[in-house]
């Protein structure tokens, strides 16, 4: 007789996926979890109360992350969309696309290290504006490439049709192009939000420790071996995307090319 092993493996998958989330949440409730104990000394809301008391600045980090990511997502989605039309209708679009790929595939942290001189000269070093600009520079190529599939023959036909029906370029854009692009714009917004929300290396270089986003905090807590706060910061990092996922998982997944 053959044992049906699939349900076991599937349950294992589910456990494997859920485990990190459960582990992070539990760890964030703990303190005094010494080796080799399996059960910590304390389990409760202490750590969470501390954040609300803002003693370690996690709440501030959460909000500065939020401000940075929302700004980066809005700016890069809009500019990416507006400029992608010119790029993908351009006769030399292959070369232009290639140019976009260079910053896209370069490690952001190396990109930032080579750019930091210019950020320093422009007064964009160690402040939120600088971090937003720097993250924008890596989210923009993503957004631009994201819309490459949008500007296809069909959209062009729509544009032509509206023109022959007497629509001005502005009318064409507002009445037809934007409604047609709506779901892609949302998707791109979500994706660029995540790029910014998850970004560490570039932020650490341009922010030089003065702009403390959540990822920077996680890293600081690891360095301090304060794993309970680290887990807490991880929870704050993970849960906003999960909530967004819950509302619409299709916004998360789209090929980057």
């Amino acid at each position: 007789m053959r044992l049906n092993w699939k349900p076991f493996i599937l349950s294992l998958f589910v456990i494997l996926v859920l485990f990190p989330f459960a582990f992070m949440v539990l760890l964030s409730f703990m303190s005094g979890w010494r080796f080799p104990d399996l059960i910590p000394e304390y389990m409760g809301l202490n750590n969470w109360n501390t954040i609300l008391g803002s003693e370690v600045g996690l709440l501030e980090s959460f909000f500065s992350s939020l401000i940075i990511s929302l700004s980066v997502a809005i700016i890069s989605t809009l500019t990416g969309f507006l400029l992608s039309r010119t790029v993908y209708y351009h006769p030399r679009k292959r070369v232009l696309t290639l140019l976009t790929y260079f910053p896209y595939i370069l490690a952001p942290v190396v990109f930032a290290a080579c750019l930091s001189y210019f950020f320093l000269k422009l007064g964009l070093f160690g402040n939120i504006t600088g971090v937003i600009v720097a993250q924008f520079l890596i989210a923009f190529p993503y957004a631009l490439l994201f819309f490459s599939s949008f500007w296809n023959k069909k959209i062009r036909s729509y544009e032509d049709l509206v023109a022959t029906l007497g629509g001005s370029p502005v009318q064409k854009f507002i009445k037809v192009i934007l409604p047609l692009a709506k779901s892609m714009l949302l998707m791109c917004f979500f994706q660029t939000f995540l790029i910014s929300w998850f970004e560490y290396g570039l932020t650490s270089i341009i922010g030089v420790g003065k702009v403390q986003t959540l990822t920077i905090k996680v890293f600081l807590f690891i360095k301090e071996s304060n794993y309970y706060y680290g887990a807490l910061a991880c929870c704050l990092l993970i849960f906003p995307p999960i909530i967004l996922l819950y509302f619409n998982k299709r916004y998360v997944f789209k090929n980057p090319i």
Binding site: K154, S157, Y158, D160, L161, V162, A163, T164, L165, G166, G167, S168, Q171, K175, V176, P179, L180, K182
Partner: protein, 239 residues
């Protein structure tokens, strides 16, 4: 002459796609143009509509040169084989689109759209979204959207190409009625011999970028290069 096309030429890279296009068309007439895919007919229509810039030549509409005008200023509507209904608008709003662009008052828009919905036999479909309509209905909405703007010239690029035989036949009749009711001047491209003969007041034949417009239908039928004779012989041989 209402539409005059003079020496229109267009090349892509090194290939000449449209060669010295030269023809005229009277008002309220339909010129049907027969041609295989790749013969340059889409490029020809797009140049007349102002969507593709010609290398050479001129387009005159009612005696006025429109060659340098933007498409939105020409009052020439170009219809694709695909119906290209706006997926975010219902049938009514799709038809009303051109009038909304002109910012006409709501009462006027409702009146005009309702009228055209009747002549398109689309009663009861107005609030449906494009994906709820059949192929023939979608194509009719697309016609309505074009005709309602009262275009000087209608350019149709194989409009019935994707319809099944029965629907296609009904659409042909409907189109003939519409051209009469609304006094439409049009260029009608098709690769269907019968459709070309049925719809056109005049007939043209396009091959490798050259367009030949015949004096009358007989001249077209008698020209051996068009394939009409072969067709006739085929059907006669069945008798």
């Amino acid at each position: 002459m209402f539409l005059e096309v003079r020496n229109l030429t267009k090349s892509f890279k090194k290939e000449q796609v449209v060669k010295n296009l030269d023809f005229t068309l009277d008002a309220h007439q339909t010129l049907s143009i027969l041609g295989k895919s790749g013969c340059g007919k889409t490029t020809m229509l797009k140049m007349i509509a102002g969507l593709v810039k010609p290398d050479n030549g001129e387009v005159l509409l009612a005696g006025e040169a429109v060659t340098l005008k933007k498409p939105e200023k020409r009052n020439i509507v170009y219809l694709y084989q695909e119906d290209l209904l706006f997926p975010h608008l219902n049938a009514f709003e799709n038809i009303a689109f051109g009038l909304r662009l002109k910012k006409l008052p709501q009462a006027k828009i409702t009146e005009e759209v309702d009228k055209i919905i009747v002549s398109l036999e689309l009663e009861g479909q107005a609030t449906k979204m494009p994906n709820q309509l059949s192929g023939g209905q979608r194509q009719r909405v697309s016609f309505g959207r074009a005709i309602i703007t009262n275009p000087s010239l209608l350019l149709l690029d194989e409009p019935f190409g994707s319809l099944d035989a029965g629907t296609r036949k009904r659409m042909q009749t409907l189109f003939q009625n519409l051209t009469k009711t609304y006094n439409i001047t049009s260029l009608f491209i098709t690769h269907d011999l019968k459709e070309a003969l049925l719809i056109g007041d005049k007939i043209g034949f396009m091959k490798a970028g050259n367009l030949k417009v015949y004096e009358d239908k007989n001249a077209f039928i008698n020209d051996t290069t068009t394939g009409v004779q072969e067709e006739i012989n085929f059907w006669e041989s069945l008798n």
